[in-house]
Amino acid sequence: MQANGVRYQRFSVLHRILHFIVMLGFTVLAATGLTLAFSGNFAARAFASVLGGAAALAGWHKWFAVITYSCVIVHGLWFIYYKSVLKGKLTGPHSIAPSRRDVGEFAHHLRFVIGRSKTPPRFERFTYLEKIDYWAVFVGMNTMGLTGLLLWFPEFFSSFLPGFFVNIARILHFFEALLAIVIKFIIHGGMAHFRPSVYPGDSTIFSGKTTEAKMKAEHPLEWERLKGSEAPAAGEKP
């Protein structure tokens, strides 16, 4: 990365830490969860024996679930802080909340990809793809957490829920996990790190900073907005 030139802060330290923990936690959850789900597979048996058997795998899975979900809770607390102390806004051009312009940008992007438009859409702070990445994790972690909790304490939950909720939770937990693994490892990994302009990896989420050239290319509207207000961007996103 070029050290000279203006650098813009895109992610605060808290968000970098949260992303890092979720990245590690999600990987361990996927590895242990897939091993438990496909336990007959040769590779799964080898991996399970390395980590100390099925019971140990379940233990790892639960501990990393707690660690990963605690990031959601911290993110929620940060959201309250953002709203009440920093008096941040939920909507507007900098927001990660889905808006109508995302639909337009998606259509524009499609036209650009098939050659019907000469220029790509001019993105704001978050592109529609980044918003999908964020909301997939945010929604996914809550549904996975809820169904996982039901599977962790089935006796407690079946004391007031019908027993078939445990079966439903099992099915949802499994398929949602497969969906999340595909989205995170293939779609998110591909979109964030394998784009030709950033290949082999985008360091923005780890350093928190991005260069002016990248800002101009990827988030031109945000760059113009920040240029107008002159102050460097504070890493804020709801």
């Binding site: 802060q9 605060s12 330290v13 808290l14 970098r16 102390v85 920093l86 780890f206 350093s207 928190g208 504070a234 890493g235």
Partner: protein, 484 residues
């Protein structure tokens, strides 16, 4: 369906009609099987007590005699005692699906008697600090968990166990399988009363709190309420200390608290993920861990400081290690050794480290009040810190001596706690009700520690946070100046 399908279906139909008739034994209706004579292996065989059927069969064999009062009398000396175990005793017992021989591991043999009694520990791990308030490692499970109130200290084995005799020296049966209610601590009073003969302190004391982990293996529980105000004051002190750091301006710029935290955390982040982190690691190793700066100032000062600092550090590491090992493998011999105050290794190391702290305090006091070199300025804060740590260690050693004395721990292993054992011998010459005084001594020791915690962020002792922090933060500033 084609031709082969129809042929296959036909063959299957014929087989289904024939096989049940000739393939399986056929029991005629209305005929009782003839009783056959008993063979040896009907009784003398190993039941599979992993199954409910095996448990029922194995227990039926025991209850054949033990469920009947007339069939289970035994002669103990001249008296007859009853080894009757009524079956309905186990109706609501958690052990109702457990085979008798699972616990009574050595009775299924000839001659039919048990030498080792019931073995709880083959399934249950020992209690840690939290449940038992003290690991009670030399107390048999049955002494607390059974309803019998006759407990005795077996001096040959150095164990506290159920007595086979009542207070009139008459033999009593130990076959009462009822368990004591352990929801509240009233059952502790079986042993913990003034003037007991089993070597228990006269009062029921709280568990060691998690704050005691600084020096002792302890549990992750609060222990006693006295640590609540201590921790509150500690928290307030830390809060005021930290908020003081964030007051004032940064390079003549008035920033909000949010911006200060944001830029500070960003600075730390940039340091951690850069080559500068190796400088920090070097500073940490040399100046924080090895105390190089103090050594460069004065060897004497380094020696005094190290006696206290390393001894505290070693005790903290050892206690954390014990906590981790106990929580992962509670039944292992390593975990048992680490939580056992009377284990030779543990008692020797803890006594040695305690002695180091005591010597450090004595040397510091001599340096301050007797030698008085001109550069040592004895401030009020220093005196308070020395007095608190000195009282803490002294009360700890007296407490250990009193424990060895009242529990009547034999020379081996007690002598490995060389200082505590010496004090316990000295207590011989101080005839006092040590059994009753032990509780007060315990509260004095814990109270001094509570004062230590509360005082930590205010006085001299806060240097254990601030000095490493300023060393770690300061070096980067210097580095930056050098670059400029």
């Amino acid at each position: 369906m084609n031709r082969y399908g129809w042929i296959g279906l036909g063959i299957a139909t014929v087989l289904l009609a024939i096989v049940p008739k000739y393939g399986y034994p056929f029991v005629e209706e209305g005929r009782e099987p003839r009783p056959r004579p008993l063979v040896c292996l009907d009784c003398h065989r190993q039941r599979n007590i992993e199954t409910n059927e095996g448990v029922a069969a194995a227990n039926a064999f025991c209850t054949d005699c033990h469920a009947h009062a007339d069939k289970s009398l035994r002669l103990a000396g001249t008296a007859r005692i009853q080894l009757n175990v009524p079956a309905d005793l186990f109706t609501n017992d958690p052990h109702r699906f457990i085979a008798c021989v699972r616990c009574h591991t050595d009775v299924a043999r000839s001659p039919h008697l048990s030498l080792i009694g019931s073995q709880c520990r083959s399934c249950h791990p020992v209690h840690g600090e939290r449940q038992a308030h003290d690991p009670h490692l030399r107390v048999d499970c049955q002494a607390c968990h059974f309803a019998s109130s006759f407990i005795v200290l077996d001096r040959d084995l150095n164990r506290v166990r159920l007595s086979r005799f009542n207070d009139q020296a008459q033999p009593v049966s130990l076959s009462d399988h009822r368990v004591a209610a352990t929801k509240d601590f009233s059952f502790c009073r079986k042993c913990h009363f003034s003037g007991n003969a089993v070597g228990a302190p006269g009062s029921v004391l709280p568990a060691k709190s998690f704050v005691c982990l600084a020096c002792h293996p302890a549990s992750l529980s609060l222990g006693h309420w006295m640590f609540v105000p201590a921790l509150l004051i500690f928290g307030l002190g830390v809060f005021s200390m930290v908020s003081f750091w964030f007051k004032g301006s940064v390079r003549e710029e008035q920033l909000s608290l949010h911006d200060k935290v944001a830029s500070g955390s960003d600075h730390i982040w940039q340091t951690v993920f850069s080559r500068r982190v190796w400088d920090k690691a070097r500073i940490f190793l040399l100046d924080v861990a090895l105390q190089r700066r103090i050594l460069q100032e004065s060897v004497k000062r380094w020696s005094i400081h190290s006696l206290i600092y390393y001894a505290f550090l070693c005790r903290l590491i050892l206690s954390l290690f014990a906590l981790i090992v106990y929580n992962i493998v509670p039944g292992s011999s390593l975990a048992l050794a680490l939580i056992d105050k009377n284990h030779w290794m543990v008692s020797f190391i803890y006594d040695f480290l305690g002695l180091c702290i005591l010597l450090g305090i004595i040397f510091a006091a001599v340096q301050r009040y007797v030698i008085r070199p001109p550069h040592v300025l004895s401030a009020e804060q220093d005196n308070i810190a020395l007095i608190i740590i000195g009282l803490l260690v002294l009360s700890g050693f007296v407490l250990e001596g009193a424990r060895i004395w009242i529990t009547q721990t034999p020379f081996d292993p007690a002598a490995f706690a060389f200082l505590g054992y010496g004090i316990s011998r000295l207590l011989l010459f101080l005839p006092a009700a040590w059994q009753d005084a032990y509780g007060s001594l315990w509260y004095i020791h814990a109270g001094v520690w509570a004062v230590f915690i509360a005082y930590l962020p205010f006085g001299k002792l806060k240097h254990m946070f601030t000095t490493p922090l300023s060393l770690m933060l300061g070096s980067s500033e210097k580095k930056q100046e050098a670059v400029h």
